[in-house]
């Protein structure tokens, strides 16, 4: 049985949970999911529509606010009770904070940031990026279970999750949590305008190159980015010219990204740029030059004038 640890904040489910359930379902092994928190009945019933054997709810006042110690305690007890073979989680800021501690507490392996999982019986093979996505590694867990794995956001699609033919049963599990053992004392989260954009967290990116011709045309790329729910980025010459800040630069002297979708507008595909985005799941290239090296690594290519093609794409997206 695979236990999927759901993630919620203030009663709202993180969609990455659905991706993780999809990943678990892809193995063919029976799946259960667990929600932790305080007053999370709504989240649990939402999850019940998934094709899972059961939705387990662990509620405790000590879990109202996320803390690493609280979650580790609760999950350690739950895993002891449920005895899953595998434990899957989405790879989020939060799971990065507690999952390694949980696995280490149980002296079990945790394979993080997986982009694929293969097999339906042991040894299950996990695929994860290494060297910032320039290479991939196939990994197997060793020793007794449960084995833990976190999945990269976007590696699986939330809409690939199978819905159940009927609502799954929701069960409350009681675990005993010793609040005095929770060493972290969190304060309320707050929002702040971030200093620099972290493009490596973006699911979709629209990047511009010299083909955009002028700073005034960035607006067009920005519109496409908006229509796609993407972040705007650029190749080096654009940032060198000051048209976009340096933290938007993709490439060997900028950031390395591997988003679900990368749209390269007017980018020729110099190797310095390619090494920064080759690992993207789907690459679209639009360029006037049919010989541009970018087409060699693109999944979809359009040879054409981006000033005509991009407005057409925006129109199509908005339909």
């Amino acid at each position: 049985m695979i236990l999927v640890i759901a993630e919620q904040r203030e009663g709202r489910l993180n969609r990455a949970t659905l991706e993780t359930i999809a990943a678990a379902q892809s193995t063919g092994i029976p799946v259960k999911t667990v929600v932790l928190g305080s007053d999370v009945a709504g989240v649990a019933s939402g999850l019940a529509s998934a094709d899972v054997a059961e939705v387990v709810v662990v509620e405790d006042a000590a879990l109202a606010e996320y803390t690493a110690d609280g979650y580790v305690q609760a999950l350690e007890a739950l895993i002891g009770a449920e005895q899953p073979d595998l434990v899957f989680l989405p790879h989020t800021y939060q799971t990065r904070d507690f999952a390694p501690a949980l696995a280490a507490r149980l002296k079990r392996p945790l394979i993080t940031d997986c982009v694929a999982v293969r097999g339906s019986a042991q040894p299950i093979t996990y695929v994860r990026p290494i060297f910032q996505g320039k290479l991939q590694a196939e990994v197997v867990a060793e020793g007794p279970g449960p084995h833990f794995a976190t999945f990269q956001i976007g590696a699986f699609r939330a809409d690939a999750m199978k819905a159940g033919s009927a609502a799954a049963p929701v069960r409350s599990a009681k675990v005993s949590i010793d609040a005095s053992k929770i060493r972290q004392k969190p304060e309320a989260p707050f929002k702040e305008a971030k200093q620099a954009v972290d493009l490596s967290q973006a699911e979709r990116i629209v990047a511009v190159g010299r083909g955009i011709k002028g700073q005034e045309h960035l607006q067009l790329a920005q519109q496409l980015a908006q229509a796609m729910g993407a972040e705007l980025a650029a190749s080096r010459p654009i940032c060198d010219a000051g048209w976009l800040p340096m933290d938007r630069q993709i490439g060997s002297s900028g950031q390395t990204v591997a988003p679900r979708l990368y749209v390269a507008l007017g980018i020729s595909g110099a190797i310095q740029h390619l090494v920064g985005m080759k690992g993207s799941r789907t690459i679209v290239a639009i360029n006037k030059d049919s010989e541009a090296p970018i087409f060699e690594i693109a999944d979809y290519g359009i040879v054409g004038d981006l000033f005509e093609v991009v407005p057409a794409i925006i129109a199509e997206l908005n339909r």
Partner: protein
């Protein structure tokens, strides 16, 4: 913030074969002769020893034998002994082998090496002696006592670190360090910025011939292991160069299918549209060369200038408190195409001179002149003097050069006019009007285009990626072009911006200025520190200054 300062007895500027040999020799002398231990420091601008080292290379082990007699036991990384020598004359489609390998090209007893690995190894020996190699520190200014032609060199100031791209001091700003030394040995390589500055200030080249250079562009390839026998050394003349142009190709085979391949072009060509990088691509496409590289993979790229002028271009090598060794002093045998052993030898001689002078308490020019005496009395002069006019003879074309060189083997270099007259290479570049009387070529299009397939041939930008070059981005351009207006107007008109062609790293580009004209864009972070721009610019307005320490290429295996 206070400027750091350090005092040593001997400061060695540059951690290449000359600098490392000097340091090692000083350590040996220390042990031999005993006495008050000398404080010795080596400054190296690269992030680690050997990172900026690039050469063919075939090493004459004579200096190595003297410096480290047990070099084999100490694990000197000599890839292979030379087993086969061949020289070919190439035409566009064919090759003609010289029936006898001309004696200067006979490499029996020599080794094919990677200079990068060799210098790394030397650096290990130097550090084992307890000598500090300060990597990531560039030398920018000379510290003088008194001024004018009798100025005494009392040390070096290193470059500032932590300056932003607009010249502002960042929070991490560290001013350059003043390193005071009794003797400073300059081993800052071909067209070294410190030596260039010293020579200018003290007039050390008065009465000498102007220095001439060549650019060597090299790639490291992995080809099927049994294709070329390791230790096979090949040189070529002819295609793709014209008879009036100096240079040739080289192919050195190392074990495990590693091939060192490159092309040397004299930086004294007349054609303003000449492009050494394009010439190298044509060379690789020659059927003979292409057949060696077929199915292989280019793994590293780099370029560096070489001093070619020979004996008569060597400046005065000493002044109070300072000595010059290695490529910085132009110690290259341009007919044998070897300079590493001479760099090591002069480094050792400089060390011996410095040691004696410091022990005697006299580092005046008169005392340090002993360095030149040592050079004159030994193998350095014996080797370089007979070939003193060779490079200059090529100034009259390839036939003249080959003819004179052949002759010089017998005559010991004699000529009617000695020294054979010569000009600085940049002076020989002709304008469009002079060279292209039949019509102006398009400065933005290659004169001799070659197909770039990114398998066998590459564009500059792709090549630079394989040089491993990295610089801190947030710093001012280290390439100082004193008047960029000349670029847009006079130079474009007269020479068609040759910097966009002679730079092997795509540093210089003429981009659309937005008003119908073009302007110079300097992509400083691509720079591979070859010095060609400083050498070849026809207006001599480019000064290569070291970028923030640690930046530059990463020449693994080169």
């Amino acid at each position: 913030m206070d400027r750091e300062s350090l005092e040593v007895d001997v400061l060695i500027v540059g951690g290449g074969p000359a600098g490392m040999a000097a340091a090692l020799r000083l350590a040996q002398l220390q042990k031999e002769k005993g006495g008050e231990p000398l404080a010795i420091a080596v400054l190296e601008k690269a992030r680690e020893a050997g990172a900026h080292m690039l050469s063919g290379a075939v090493l004459d082990p004579s200096a190595l034998r003297d410096l480290v007699p047990d070099f084999k036991e100490k694990g000197a990384p000599l890839a292979t002994e030379v087993h086969r020598d061949a020289v070919y004359f190439l035409t566009r489609g064919r090759k003609f082998k010289f029936p006898i390998t001309p004696p200067p090209f006979a490499n029996h007893g020599n080794y094919v090496i990677s200079l990068n690995r060799f210098v790394k190894w030397l650096g290990g020996l130097v550090e084992a002696e307890g000598i500090d190699i300060f990597t990531g520190f560039s030398a920018t200014d000379i510290l003088f006592e008194q001024q004018g032609k009798d100025a005494a060199v009392i040390g070096i100031r290193t470059g500032d670190r932590g300056i932003g791209r607009h010249g502002e001091k960042k929070s991490t700003f560290e001013p350059g360090v003043d390193i005071r030394a009794k003797v400073t040995i300059l081993c800052d390589g071909v067209r070294g910025n410190v030596t260039k500055s010293l020579v200018r200030q003290l007039g050390l080249d008065d009465g000498r011939l102007p220095q001439t250079y060549a650019i060597g562009i090299k790639e490291l390839w992995e080809v099927p292991k049994d294709r070329v026998a390791p230790g096979s050394v090949t040189h070529t003349l002819g295609y793709p160069l014209k008879m009036e142009e100096f240079g040739g190709g080289f192919i050195y085979a190392m074990p495990e299918g590693l091939l060192s391949i490159g092309f040397v072009s004299g930086l004294d060509y007349r054609d303003p549209m000449f492009d050494p990088h394009v010439v190298f691509q044509h060379f690789k496409r020659h059927p003979f060369v292409a057949s060696l590289l077929e199915g292989g993979q280019m793994v590293r790229y780099g370029a560096k200038a070489l001093p070619e002028g020979g004996w008569h271009t060597i400046p005065r090598l000493y002044s109070t408190g300072v000595l010059i060794a290695g490529d910085a002093g132009a110690f290259v045998n341009s007919i044998r195409l070897k300079g590493i052993h001479l760099a090591m030898r002069t480094g050792m001689l400089a060390a011996e001179t410095a040691f004696d002078a410091i022990r005697a308490g006299d580092v005046s020019a008169a005392a340090l002149k002993a360095y030149e005496d040592r050079i004159n009395a030994g193998p350095v002069r014996r080797e370089l003097y007979p070939v003193r006019n060779v490079h200059q003879s090529f100034g009259h074309g390839m036939l003249a050069g080959v003819g004179y060189s052949g002759l010089s083997l017998v005559t010991g270099g004699w000529w009617l006019r000695d020294p054979m007259p010569a000009h600085g290479g940049w002076e020989r570049m002709e304008t469009f009007a002079e060279y292209y009387s039949e019509g102006r070529p398009d400065p933005d299009a290659p004169a001799n285009p070659v197909k770039i397939d990114r398998q066998l041939t590459f564009d500059r930008l792709t090549n630079v990626h394989y040089s491993g070059t990295r610089h801190a981005e947030d710093q001012p351009s280290h390439l100082v072009v004193h008047d960029t207006d000349i670029c847009r107007t006079r130079c474009r008109e007269e020479y068609g911006n040759p910097c966009t062609r002679f730079c092997p790293a795509n540093v210089y580009e003429m981009v659309d200025a937005g008003d119908g004209t073009r302007k110079l864009q300097i992509n400083a972070s691509n720079c591979v520190h070859c010095k060609t721009c400083d050498i070849m610019d026809p207006y001599q307005i480019i000064d290569w200054m070291p970028p923030e320490g640690g930046g530059g290429p990463q020449y693994e295996g080169m």
